[in-house]
Amino acid sequence: MDNKNEQDLRFLQLRFIGKILAGFTHEIKNHLAIVKESAGLMGDMIKMGKTAENESQYLEIIQSIEEQIERALVHFTYLNRFSHRMDTSLSTFNINESIEELTALLHRFANQKRIRIEKDFQKDLNPINSNPSMLQFLVFNFLEEAIAKLDKNSRIVVKTEVMNGSVAIRVIPEGNVLESDAEKVLCPPEITDYVIKMLNGNISRQGEGAVITLPVKAA
C-alpha cells in the first residue's frame, strides 16, 4: 500500500513542480516581453529622431523597465526559496512565508479564472519544525482543486492561525462551484492523507475546502 502511495506521490510531486515552473516561466516571459517592447519603443523613437522633446517619456520608459526587472526579481526570489525548501526533509520555517511564496507562484493560474487568492495570516505565528515542501504540496493540492472547481470571479481565502497548540492552515473557497467540475479530484485523498500522516498532522475536509493542522514541532 505504502509503495503504491509512494509512487503516486512522486508522480504528483513532479506534476506540482511542473505546474509551479510553468506559472513562473510564464510570469517571467511576460516581464521580459514588457522590457523588450519598452526598449524597442525607445529604439524606434531614437531612430525616428524623436529625442530631446521626449525626454520625460524616455524616463518613464526607463522607469517601467526598472519596475519590470524588480517584479521579475521578486518572482526569482520566490522560486529560489521554493527550490531550497526541498533541500532538507525537515527544517524550521515560517508557515506564512512558505504559503505567501506558493500563492505568488500560483497567481497566474488563479488569475486565468479571475479567482483571487486572499491571505489572512496570523502575524505572530512562531516558526514550525516540519517538512516545508510537503506542506506546500498539500496546500497546493487544495488550492488547485478549488481553482478547478470554482466559477470565475470567485475567491479563495488562505488563513493561518494557532489552534489548540497546533498551527492550522485553512483553505476556504468562496463562490459558486461549477456543476461539471464538482466531482473533480486532482489529487486522491489517500495521497493527501498519506502525506499528512508523514507530517504527523491532520486534515479535516470542509465542503470544497480543508483545514490542515500541524504540530509546532516535528515528532
Binding site: K36, E37, D44, N111, R114
Partner: protein, 125 residues
C-alpha cells in the same frame, strides 16, 4: 493598402501600451483592451481589421473569445499571441479561424508582416 485598424488584447497593460505605440509609430491605428469583455465591447464601434489576441487573458478563455469574434464578423482577422507552452491552444485557435499566431516576446517586424498579410486577406474578402 488602406489604413489598418488594429485591436490589441492583452492583460499586461505596460506591454500592450508599448506595443501600441510602436505600431502607431509605424502608422497603424491601434486600440487596446485588457480583457475579453472590453475587447468584444470595442469591436462593435471600432470595427478593427486585425485583432492581436493574447490566448491567456483573464476572464473568458482566449479560444472562446476568438470564436465569439469570428461569429460576430468572420472577416476580422485574428493573430494569436502565445507562449511557448501553448501548442495545443494554437492548434485549436487555428482550427477556430485564427489567421496566424506569434510567440511572445514578439518581434515587431514579424508582427507587422503578419498584420499586413492579414489585412490583405481581409481586403481580398
Amino acid at each position: 493598402m488602406s489604413h489598418t485598424k488594429i485591436l490589441l488584447v492583452d492583460d499586461e497593460v505596460e506591454f500592450v501600451s508599448a506595443l501600441a505605440e510602436r505600431l502607431e509609430l509605424r502608422n497603424y491605428e491601434v486600440k487596446t483592451a485588457s480583457n475579453a469583455l472590453e475587447a468584444l465591447g470595442l469591436i462593435h464601434g471600432y470595427l478593427p481589421d486585425v485583432i492581436v489576441l493574447d490566448l491567456r487573458i483573464p476572464g473568458m478563455d482566449g479560444i472562446e473569445t476568438l470564436k465569439t469574434i469570428k461569429k460576430y464578423d468572420p472577416a476580422i482577422e485574428v493573430i494569436m499571441l502565445t507562449g511557448h507552452g501553448d501548442s495545443q491552444s494554437v492548434e485549436e485557435g487555428m482550427k477556430s479561424g485564427a489567421f496566424e499566431y506569434i510567440m511572445k516576446p514578439v518581434d515587431i517586424g514579424e508582427l507587422t508582416s503578419k498584420i499586413d498579410k492579414a489585412k490583405r486577406k481581409r481586403e481580398k474578402g
